[in-house]
């Protein structure tokens, strides 16, 4: 049953890993603005569409 020590160590390391990720995310300011990113992620499509249109235009030129 000593395997429990290994299991505990692993589980705590994993947990601490997530905790560190959380701290880094807060430090980077990801929790400062919780609204704009939700809108921003919807924009990518429009930008791509536009760029392709532009490239078509330049090809025709």
């Amino acid at each position: 049953m000593s395997v429990i020590y290994i299991l505990l160590t692993i589980s705590i390391i994993v947990a601490i890993g997530f905790f560190v990720a959380f701290i880094i995310a807060v430090r980077n300011g990801q929790f400062d603005d919780s609204y704009t990113p939700s809108v921003r992620m919807l924009f990518e499509d429009e930008l791509v569409k536009e760029k392709t249109e532009k490239t078509i235009l330049t090809k025709n030129d």
Binding site: V26, V39, L47
Partner: protein, 796 residues
């Protein structure tokens, strides 16, 4: 006539007849913005949200102060002489189109490498190469597409402010530890004896101990500090029993695992702190885009044009202005210091300072006070005093602005916590005393168990969740309160004081009444044609209020500054202006603003301007009069007294000609005799009164732009719902009292186990989260119900 909305900004475009690309525009400014966007392939802007734009304003010369390197340096976040980063506040940001266009600035100017919008704060953080574009050009670019940034004295040296994220860290630590401790304590919940548990229990217990260390010593430190402060000033606030509970939990649990008596209460300990912090976090609803702490600095320009003897102009920082400097104040610019007018025609709008709605004319040699806004071309002035010594800014040296309102206020939670703490301690001592006689080995166990189970987690959660949720509901209804204690104080008020101009009157609207002999059709058309030529604000508003008439071409037209206008058409002459100018006699004098008219040198009559009161004002006052003392303190003259007495309930007290200090003193005086005052105002002139009152609410036509320091901001359109907001706050207090009852019920169950000496960790681990969660559910559901009721009221 059908209305066609402007493709860019949505205003009526039918009159302008400007079309471009088959799309209607209301003005050339909007058309230009559209052109900029279409040339740069950015018309996607309009797909996201129709008519999202704002009219670009003319900002020529306005941002000359950005040539001054010292000012620029103070605004920038980062500067290495090639790359600069600036965070600009743009009040117009309001929809997804705004985010999209501002984050695509690099398409408009390649020197901009990145721009990131923070929608909540309404800021854009722009990174650009300053060799190719200066900040002044950047601001102009933003202005040209309708996103003019707002730069005030507040921005000076503000850029380096650090955000306080400690609550999120503390919450994260507590949540992390809570989850892990819970999982580590499971084995002992289900198996009490046996070889396995005896072998491995110490490992689990010491792991739980180490997880709880950061929770007790880091996450919970605010509670210890607050309890210590409370005890030092001899107040038993809610944090005292909480801290006591936390300390007892930790000490007893540690003792148990050291002496190998049991598993301890680490799960309850971490869970308790996690829930408490969650409540704190929930309550901390902040409106990032609003500022409740504004003083004159947010209104004042950061730079101003200084004139030298040789005619050279230079932008200087306002703090660098010294006595004797000569300044150039442009049209629409704010006068930052007390000064003497030297050159130019001054028409100063003092509405920020005094609440007086009418602009005043000044002539050369007159003294001008800081805070006035020049409305009529540019003027030259000589500085009398520096910014800090000016008349207006001195108001802020009054003590009220350094006082924290929350200090003097006992919250409901703290009021109950006093009795609660005493009761819990007596129960603990009585039970311990009893067990000392019966079975002294259990006495210490019972004593600590009572303190643990009575830890008022549920009580401490009731207020934050109720107020936090109500704060959000109010926010949706455009009533923005600074924090939870504002709602609590709002429920306790008994006197309501209103400012007049801008608060109970609508700012932009006036109604006009004509008194005198009737004007013939010809005269009316002549009047309107004459007014059409004048740019005076009174002429403009009178012109728009008059009926449609044929516009005739005038033979002569002359404007006498400060007096009136004179025009001639065929044989008729007309004079419009002040009483002496048109030859009206003194008996017709009125306190209200009036425009007098005479034709062919014969006095005809006058147009008197009356304030237009907000919709539902009378109804609101009639509802309020049953419960509150109502007072109106106006900085304006008594011209509207008659009108107001007719409109408002008889016992409303009216005071006119009140200076900012008078308002403050009035409130202070009444507070001394026990009044709990709600002050409702709008301008800088109310700032002192808003700070002195128990609750200060600022009314704002546009919540994004101007409001003085206050406790809450109410959107002007919601003014008639004021009573509903007060009523909802009162109901919130009731909800909290019910939650207290609910948590006492849980506490008595827990105390039964504690007093009888049967408190097992598993019972505590079930009871504590159960009571907390049921309180959270109860308060959330009932405040949502309140919110539903509020929203329904809106429909009427």
């Amino acid at each position: 006539m059908s209305k066609t909305p402007c493709f860019h900004c949505g205003l009526d475009a039918s009159a302008a007849e400007i079309t471009f690309d088959d799309k209607p525009f209301c003005c050339n400014g909007c058309k230009t913005v559209y052109e900029i966007f279409s040339v740069n392939d950015l018309t996607c802007y309009y797909d996201l949200q129709a008519s999202a734009g704002a009219k670009p304003s003319d900002i020529e010369g306005k941002y000359n102060f950005l040539d001054n390197a010292k000012i620029v340096e103070s605004i920038l976040d980062f500067n290495d002489n090639t790359t600069q980063i600036a965070t600009l506040y743009i009040p117009h940001i309001h929809c997804s189109s705004c985010i999209w266009i501002l984050e695509n600035l690099n398409k408009l100017n390649p020197a901009i490498s990145a721009s990131i919008v923070n929608f909540g704060k309404k800021t854009v953080r722009v990174t650009y190469n300053c060799n190719n574009i200066t900040i002044k050009q950047l601001v102009k670019l933003l202005g040209s597409i309708g996103y003019e940034p707002f730069i005030s004295l507040d921005d000076y040296s503000v850029g380096k402010k650090n955000v306080d994220r400690s609550l999120i860290y503390k919450l994260g630590v507590a949540g992390f530890a809570f989850g892990n401790v819970m999982f580590l304590s499971f084995p002992e919940y289900f198996q009490v004896t046996g070889f396995w548990i005896e072998t491995y229990a110490p490992v689990f217990r010491w792991l739980m101990f180490s997880f709880s260390l950061p929770v007790v010593f880091y996450s919970a430190q605010d509670y210890f500090i607050s309890a210590y402060k409370g005890l030092r000033s001899k107040i038993l606030n809610i944090d005292v029993p909480i801290s006591l509970g936390v300390i007892v939990l930790f000490v007893r649990s540690t003792a148990e695992i050291i002496l190998n008596l049991g598993t301890g209460f680490f799960d309850s300990l971490t869970g308790l702190i996690f829930f408490l912090l969650l409540g704190k976090f929930f309550q901390q609803k902040t409106y990032n885009f609003l500022s409740f702490e504004r003083d004159y600095k947010s209104y004042f320009p950061i730079g101003i044009t200084k004139l030298y003897n040789d005619g050279k102009e230079e932008s200087v920082q306002v703090y660098d202005i010294v006595k004797g400097d000569r300044l150039l104040i442009r049209n629409e610019e704010l006068i930052p210091v007390d000064c003497i007018l030297i050159n130019g025609k001054a028409r100063i709008d003092y509405s920020f300072v005094t609440g007086e709605s009418e602009a005043v004319s000044k002539k050369s040699g007159d003294k001008l006070f800081a805070g006035g806004k020049q409305l009529n071309g540019s003027i030259e002035v000589d500085v009398l005093k520096t910014v800090e010594q000016s008349y207006l800014t001195q108001l802020w040296s009054n003590d009220v602005f350094n006082k924290n309102k929350e200090d003097g206020f006992t919250t409901l939670t703290n009021a109950i916590s006093k009795k609660f703490t005493i009761a819990v301690l007596s129960i603990a001592f009585i039970a311990t005393g009893y067990w000392l006689f019966v079975d002294s080995s259990k006495a210490l166990n019972v004593f600590t168990a009572v303190l643990i189970i009575a830890c008022p987690c549920a009580i401490a959660l009731a207020a934050p969740f109720t107020f936090g949720n109500l704060l959000r509901i109010f926010g949706k209804l455009k009533f923005y309160a600074k924090n939870a204690s504002v709602i609590e104080q709002l429920a306790a008020i008994n006197t309501i004081i209103f400012d007049k101009t801008g608060t109970i009157t609508a700012n932009k609207e006036t109604s006009v009444m004509y008194e005198g002999s009737n004007l013939s059709n010809n005269e009316e058309s002549l009047l309107r044609s004459t007014l059409r030529n004048s740019n005076h604000p009174l002429s403009r508003s009178l012109y728009s209020l008059l009926d449609q008439h044929n516009i005739v071409t005038l033979d002569t037209y002359e404007e006498h500054i400060g007096k009136g206008i004179e025009a001639k058409h065929n044989q008729d002459t007309i004079k419009i202006g002040s009483a002496p100018f048109v030859g009206a006699t003194a008996e017709t004098a009125t306190l209200n603003t009036a425009v007098y008219v005479s034709t062919n040198s014969k006095y005809k009559g006058r147009f008197t301007f009356y304030n237009k009161y907000r919709k539902g004002l009378s109804k609101l006052f009639n509802k309020l009069k049953k419960h509150y003392d109502l007072v109106i303190l106006s900085g304006d003259n008594a011209g509207e007294q008659e009108n107001l007495t007719k409109l408002l309930p008889a016992k409303t007290k009216l005071f006119f000609n009140q200076k900012p200090e008078d308002k403050l003193e009035y409130i202070k005086h009444h507070q001394k005799s026990g009044a709990k005052v709600l002050m409702i105002g709008d301008g800088l002139n109310d700032a002192g009164a808003l700070a002195q009152s128990n609750v200060g609410i600022a009314i704002s036509e546009n919540v994004n732009i101007f409001s003085p320091a206050c406790d809450a901001i109410l959107d002007a359109s919601k003014f008639n719902q004021l009573y509903d907001f007060i009523k909802a706050s009162k109901s919130a207090i009731k909800i909290i009292k019910w939650s207290f009852l609910l948590s006492f019920f849980y506490n008595s169950i827990g105390l039964y186990f504690a007093v009888t000496g049967q408190l097992a960790p598993v019972i505590a681990a079930i009871l504590m989260p159960l009571s907390s969660i049921s309180i959270v559910v109860f308060t959330t559901v009932s405040t949502n119900f309140l919110g539903r009721k509020l929203q329904k009221k809106k429909a009427y």
